[in-house]
Amino acid sequence: METPTVLFYVFAAGAVASALGMVLNLRNTVAGAMNLVATMVCLAGIYLLLEAYLVAVIQIMVYGGAIVVLFLFVVMLLNLRGDTFPPGRLRLAKVAAVLLVLAVVGRGLALLTRALPEPGPVPEGFGGYALLGVALYTDYVLLVEMASLLLLAAIVGALVLAKRRID
């Protein structure tokens, strides 16, 4: 196998393992968050292999650098050391859900055996910041504006939600 293919499987295994690590780590939220970071980094590696360079960097910058740090920040702010909850009331339903999801994923993976075509060569500058930036500020400029508006709304919303009321 070529190097990229090997790397892909390495990253894929890492991503799955760390994702499972996040979901199954019942005791330690911080460890879960660190697993999430690992997933993000693995995915960024896969993005690089898929020649989506800007997306890969932004994945690390935003997900790794901002979003998960926020999670950690909140965990630390609330000082959540243990994650022990009283037994829930939906255990049977949850088991059913797990089985259902697994079945569906299995079915979905089975569909993938009719392989996708081999990707062709990419054009010059594909995935680089220059072309992507041009695309963002011409074809997708409305999207960018909408995103900015959304972020503004989120900032305001988060402030209103989280600010301490001063009586």
Binding site: L90, A93, A97, V104, R107, G108, L111
Partner: protein, 678 residues
Amino acid sequence: MVNGATETELLRWIPLLPGLAAAVHGLTLGLLRRPLSRALTVALSCGSVILSFALACIAFWRLVQLPEGSRVLVDNFYTWIGAGVGSQVVSADMSFLVDPLSAVMSLVVTGVGSLIHVYSIGYMDEDHRADKGFQRFFCYLNLFTFAMLVLVLGDNLVLMFLGWEGVGLCSYLLIGFWYSDRWNAYCGSKAFLVNRIGDFGFLVGIFLLFSALVQAGTPAISFGEIERHFDAIASATLSLPGFLGGECRLVNLVGLCFFLGACGKSAQIPLHVWLPDAMAGPTPVSALIHAATMVTAGVYMVCRMSFLYAAAPEASAVVAWTGGLTALLAASIAVVQNDIKKVLAYSTVSQLGYMFLAAGSGAFGVAIFHLATHAFFKALLFLGSGAVILAMDHEQDIEKMGGLWRRIPQTHFVFLMGVLAISGFPLFSGFFSKDAILAAALAAPLPGHQWLYGLGVFTAAITSFYMFRLHFKTFAGECRAPAEVRDHMREPERVVVTPLWVLAFFSVFAGIAGLPQVWGDMIGVENSDSLGNFLAPVLAPGGGHHLEHSTEYLMAAAAIGMGLVGFGLAWLLYVRQPELPERLAAALARPRRLLLRKYWVDEAYDRLFVRPTVWLSEAVLYRGVDAGLIDRIGVEGTARAVRGAATHVLRRAHTGLAQSYVLLMIAGAIAIVGYLVR
């Protein structure tokens, strides 16, 4: 877009300047909730309108520089509404057009508008009512100027309609400017509603015309395009339901629809009822909107569509006859009015009737000529009456005036100039324009054109009579005002009087611009009708037969004679023998009552339209449909059904455990995806 037109970016600023000023006013009033300082308001408003006047002058100058055949300036600002594909593409552009017709109109609008803006500085400042809103007034006034200029300069029907509605709105706002008085607000609503009827007609006309053009395969909405493709639909017919007369020529129908719009805006029978009540607004408003500019929009529109009316003789006949009858009826009502502004209002209706008489007779240029002269002398008369009202401390009843010529001589003099002009005193502007109208009526290719001429001449006599009656009762004789008013009476300040002098100058001399050829021949001037010649390329040629010069001299003599009769009668009744009118009133009680009640038109409308509508709204629509159907069954019924379902069924699904909802959601998603993938 007109071929061979000269592009210029100048034109957009003519309407935009007042529009921006209005926007600034509106924003400061609406957002800051604190008026700007008086000086700033004045500078902004008057400055913008005067600048706009200057731009209009520049545009006019450039237009004149162009060779005669291609005197068209356009400014395609941006595409406002685009529609259609391929050969069917059509767009209503935010595009302004200055051709001779709109050049004259824009000069009148901005010129008279500037003077009235300046006049308003003084007039509104002396207004001491509780709800005075100096800046609000100027805001509306600017907005009006903007809308009027859009109407005049718009190069397509849609844009014209935009301005058309805009001026209607401003008219409403300004009539009800002192809205704390319910009567004013009522008058504003009345004007608005009556105008809506006309607007509806206009709109239907636009739709008819457009759909006909689309069916002919040449969709067009701008005037130039419509005119170019007009031949395709000139002979089209439209089948109407039987009770409406079956087959009908499309142009006639469109012409009538447009004329209905013009009736509403220009207060012609049967939609004339709003204009006298519109006098509830401040006097500058009456002068600007309800005398000089907005009410003439109908005339302008008919002239703008002159090619259509030229091809629709039946519609033209209706226009001419409506105009003639309106002229007569309004003049007759004016004879008995005692409110100084009401007299002028009816006089305006009457003069507008003259304009339509001319337009209907095919003499569109003459209509515009009279429009311009009327704008000057009627604005002068209104502003003069405003000065009188100011001097009389807001008294409008001429029964309580009299003898004012000694106390306010300047106002008296300019007012007299206006009276002479409107009465058709020889060599004054009104003389020439009215004479031209009468000549056009006599020469019109219409059934009963002699009768139309007779109507016009008779109306001229009445006009002269009521105008001199107004003048004598206001300025002559003894002062009947209360002592405290009489003693404090003085000439208004300079900012009020100066516009009057300017307008008086034009009232007297504006006739020269459109001196009919017959008088030109007399004094040896070639092509003396410079206005008519200037306008000729854009207006459809009138179809009337030519009149002999001798006939025209005779007609002029007749008109002068009629004017003198009216003057003499007024002099006899109100100066010579002031006790005679009362005796006459007693003797002619019934006709007088008919005139005082304005031929019972308002009452008839009230019975016929207003009350049934109110009843229908109240009993059927409100109690039946709204309260019964929508509220009881629709709103409350739905609520009850939902509540019932929720309490008995849906409550079970509400476990309060977020994850149970998540599970349901996942199940749903799996179901959907499963269905899609299968």
